[in-house]
Amino acid sequence: MSKTFKIGGVHPHDSKFSRNCAIEVLPLPQTVYISMAQHLGAPAVPCVAVGDKVKAGQVIAEPAPRALSAYVHSSVSGTVKSIGPRKDIAGNNQNHIEILVEGDEWAEGIDLSTDLVTTIPTDRAEVLKKIQMGGVVGLGGATFPAHVKLNPPAGSKAECLILNGAECEPFLTSDNRIMIERSKEIVVGAAIMQMVLGGCPCVIGIEENKPEAIAAMNKAVSELGYPGISVMVLMKKYPQGGEKQLINAVMGREVGSGALPISAGAVVQNVATSLAVYEAVQKNKPLVTNTMTITGDCLPVEKQHNYLFRIGMPLSWIAEYAGGVPEGAAKVVSGGPMMGRAISNLDACTVKGSSSLLYLSEKTTKRAAQSNCIRCGKCAEACPMGLEPFLLNKLAKNGMMDELEANAVQDCISCGCCQFSCPACIPLLDTINIAKGQVLGILRARAAAAKAAAEAAKASQK
């Protein structure tokens, strides 16, 4: 019996139509626009000027000082044409560096060969530095800078490194493809992270609907023979790849409310992140490429693809290259259908964490008119955090902040299971997300006030 998380979850059709499409390398566009905000935290600060010549893999922006941030590298060689605001997929202005592509010359010291480097370095600090300098961020959705997550605070100990190969979002197949085509590199990446974390065991969790990936990863693990790495087959259930759910499925533990995974002894990284760690550490290649899926329910399978893209490629250019936005697409989503973002602006560009262009038909994606809550409890049954969405929705409508906090709205992971399940088609998550934002604001303000009070008390003691 394959493992899974205990509370809630839903079973949308997995729609992995593009599972057998091998990864193809996209050609280069004429221009790329590289966003400064492609990681969780503060946007990076450009360190090149208009007119500069850059090479692929060269640092073009440095982490914002004294903040959670990450390096950004050029994905192409060419000339910096402009630096300024440009709209991202949600239509918000972000600082972008525009580069005119000239040739394809890579910065020195980057190993572009496909030779597998299996010797694991032993200098922990050095490796962490390389991961940081390579601009590696988590590629499972949150884009949290990897070197921070791999360096747990003093006093906490990693007991298990979990590689997330669940790919529980319907339609997406890029993780499936890299696990099939680049399994050994992923396993070396895992071994590197094991070393960094002090030699804890590593479990690679893969949902059972990806048998080829499971076979390939098992083969790579046994052939490479690193100690303490194993593959765990997980049940097909959304959100299996949610960090908290994966920890529960693999380790049988729960992460306390508001706490970090490391408090339960877990560090979770996506398989794509492991690949990026491999490239950054073993090949000196920073994170400027990733894999994305072109898919949808209104796209014939022969037009679906898994592409190796470079960051900064305009989505409209990729869509055009792939054969254009299909007839009948009512919505284009970046990411999966459960948590991805609807793209309002196809002129936006790929970022490190891009995972798909998902074309959904009106029939699949159009929201039906909502009706009365019939109190069926299906939303609560589906919630993987054990919350009661019908109640949160009601409390939010009435602006009852204290009750929202007491009923743990701040624990919501925005997975969408509740709204997906509601037979009355109530847009539960829309309301809950807003309420969560407000309650988190209140909690932050309270924490800040407590801190200020403590400092004031300290100061008056002196």
Partner: protein
């Protein structure tokens, strides 16, 4: 290119809707309805028709003319109430009594509270209890009309529970449980065949329309309590199987206690709710003045649902 939709996630939705759930409930009641038609014939067809038509019609008229809002009859919840009400009255019940039941069920118990989802009491139960109190003679007339199947082999006459109430354990000696399981003539329409009801229950579980907690905890409680009474005094009290198979325990526990709107949200709450119903059912039967306790038990427990919901929550991830 057309304008793209941009709404927040999730971008897909389950195919289960309020309407599909209610349709499943109607389908689950079909075996019981079919059996009742077979045994009670045309009069049962009439009852079903009158009940469904008055429930749906009333809901339509009330929302359209009194509440002045779009009618919600497409969600099929009024059909569910209609079929349930029909299964809850004797086959000889005059049509106008059923219409009054429908008026109370839909008009009072459902629409005055704001319609589906807002009502405190299960409409069909409220209708049945209202009729039981207002028209006791019609509601306990267990004459068996001519059916399409001749029921000589079936247990017939007064309801088994009625017989027991009058004649004690002696009166129900020698009944054949196997037979009761398939056809137990002389109850309200929905109580004829335990088997048909169980088929409906399994269907609801398989289709994931309901969870089993409420129904099973009612059965468990009724069985355990009946067993205790029976063990103490078998000359006075019937055995647990009798207690379970008669008097609408099955009908009530499968189709009425599990009504979403009027039962608790959490599994834990559902168990408390079910145990409460089982307890009250047995107490009313053995010590109350009505032989039949399920309807009253469900109605009383419906009233406790807000309280149960307030104190029973499911386990949250990462919290005690």
């Amino acid at each position: 290119m057309n304008k793209l939709l941009v709404s927040p996630s999730p971008h897909v939705h389950t195919s289960v809707s309020t309407q599909s759930l209610m349709r499943d409930v109607v389908i689950a009641m079909l075996p019981a309805a079919l059996v009742s038609v077979l045994f009670y014939g045309w009069s049962e067809i009439l009852i079903l028709a009158v009940s469904v038509i008055s429930c749906v019609g009333l809901e339509y008229l009330i929302s359209k003319f009194l509440l002045k809002r779009p009618a919600t009859i497409c969600d099929l919840s009024a059909v569910v109430t209609g079929v349930l009400l029909a299964l809850n009255v004797p086959p000889t019940c005059p049509w106008w009594v059923i219409v009054i039941g429908a008026i109370f069920a839909i008009g009072v118990a459902k629409m005055t509270f704001g319609g589906l989802g807002q009502n405190m009491f299960n409409p069909a139960i409220a209708g049945r209890v209202f009729l039981l109190v207002s028209f006791p003679t019609y509601m306990t007339d267990w004459t068996v009309p001519a059916g399409f199947i001749h029921a000589t082999d079936a247990v017939s006459g007064a309801t088994l529970l009625g017989a027991y109430a009058e004649g004690g354990v002696e009166a129900i000696k020698g009944i054949n449980y196997l037979q009761t399981l398939f056809f137990n003539i002389g109850g309200s329409a929905g109580e004829i065949s335990a088997c048909a009801l169980l088929v409906g229950f399994v269907y609801l579980l398989v289709r994931k329309v309901i969870r089993p907690h409420i129904t099973l905890s009612i059965w468990g409680t009724v069985a355990v309590l009946a067993l205790i009474f029976w063990a103490i005094n078998p000359a006075k009290y019937p055995d647990p199987i009798f207690a379970l198979l008669t008097g609408g325990v099955l009908l009530g526990s499968i189709f009425m206690a599990t009504d979403y709107v009027t039962s608790p949200m959490s599994a834990k709450g559902g168990i408390i709710f079910g145990v409460g119903i089982g307890l009250l059912t047995v107490l009313i039967r053995y010590f109350g003045s009505y032989p039949e306790g399920v309807s009253f038990a469900i109605l009383i427990m419906n009233a406790t649902v807000p309280l149960i919901n307030k104190y029973c929550h499911q386990k949250k991830y990462g919290r005690k």
